[in-house]
């Protein structure tokens, strides 16, 4: 179903440029962990772990305790090794996570679009 249309998927010059920019953004993504650390900024508001909530309000809300571990993500926190303290290593994990995530997102969105868009064939 998709293979017949593959040949028609022409990428324009501008689109090629955008893909290169997206790749460059993945490569500089570690700024998203290095800069907050430099300015001593913590987690986003309302995205704390159950442990942090306990430190903030003195208890872990029952529902939070019940639901917080409902899903085990394969790469939690955009890293392969959360315990690794090396900024260099974490930056590498972050880049790899960004490339994996962006690529999967790109492919899933292309597949969904190809399945639903019918104009201009």
């Amino acid at each position: 179903m998709l293979s017949g249309k593959e040949a028609k998927m022409e990428i324009s010059k501008l689109q090629k440029k955008i893909l290169i920019i997206l790749l460059l953004l993945c490569l500089i993504a570690p700024l998203g962990i290095v800069i907050p650390a430099f300015f001593n900024a913590g987690e986003a508001w309302g995205e704390w772990s159950a442990q942090t909530v306990k430190e903030l309000v003195g208890y872990v809300p029952q529902g939070l305790a019940k639901y917080s571990d409902v899903w085990k993500a394969p790469l939690p926190g955009y890293t392969m090794n959360a315990g690794d303290k090396s900024v260099m290593h974490q930056s590498g994990y972050y880049i790899i996570s960004g490339i994996i995530g962006a690529t999967i997102t790109y492919i899933v969105m292309l597949l969904i679009s190809k399945l639903i868009v019918r104009n201009g064939e």
Binding site: L14, L19, P36, A44, G46, A50, P61, G63, W71, A102
Partner: protein, 231 residues
């Protein structure tokens, strides 16, 4: 702005999941009508862009972090329905693979960032820009669109979190889910987005929309006749 699991009660996340599912179905129906096949690569790139831009955490020194979402620029360039699909894909993959945002909160997070935000952004842009517009007007309208839509989505998220103590508390008065009420959640979320994250969303939106306005104006959904596919 990614609500984790355990912060929203089922009374909140189930209805929001319902609203999101209906919105996603409408989005699919409208994308089918509005988007032409040659724009498919753009949609893939838009979703990937949203994914990546959300990795750029920005600090409020000594405080919290936040990030841009990319919904505004996608809504202006490819339409709010296309933005709903693209940003939802990014958010769902963030939740499933990277644990960023909860599984139970997928409906809420997609509603806030992928439904509410692109529609707010799109209509703010339409209101402030004129067609035909000058490039300064487009830059300004796109900046305000990105800025306000992100701030509004953050306040909506804060409202969903802040009503939790009212909805679900144990007999001893302890919250079951998000422990902070509206008087704390709204200012806490609003300040970072008003001062920094919204400005970054605004600048990104203005720069990219202006680039397309100059180089590929025919692509811009918000300027096509009746908002539909012009050719």
């Amino acid at each position: 702005m990614h609500i984790p699991d355990g912060y929203l009660s089922p009374q909140t996340y189930i209805p929001l999941m319902g609203v999101f599912v209906v919105s996603a179905a409408l989005a699919v129906k409208n994308v089918k009508k509005e988007v032409s096949a040659r724009n498919i690569p753009y949609l893939g790139m838009a979703a990937a862009f949203s994914f990546i831009i959300m990795m750029f955490n920005l600090p409020i020194p000594g405080g919290t972090t936040g990030h841009a979402v990319g919904s505004a620029v996608i809504a202006i360039l490819f339409g709010p329905w296309a933005a709903t699909v693209a940003v939802s894909v990014a958010i769902i993959i963030q939740a499933l693979i990277f644990g960023d945002g909860g599984i139970t909160a997928i409906g809420a997070n997609c509603f806030n960032m992928a439904v509410f935000m692109p529609f707010a952004a799109y209509y703010i842009f339409k209101l402030l820009s004129s067609n035909p517009a000058g490039s300064a007007r487009v830059f300004f309208a796109a900046f305000i669109s990105g800025y306000l839509s992100l701030v509004m989505a953050a306040v909506l998220t804060a409202a969903e979190l802040g009503i939790q103590p009212m909805i679900a508390s144990s007999s001893d008065g302890k919250a079951l889910y998000c422990p902070y009420n509206l008087s704390i959640s709204i200012p806490a979320m609003a300040i970072g987005h008003l001062l920094l994250f919204g400005i970054v969303e605004g600048i990104i939106t203005a720069l990219i929309v202006s680039y397309f306005f100059k180089n590929e104006p025919g692509v811009i959904y918000a300027f096509r006749k009746g908002g539909k596919n012009g050719d």
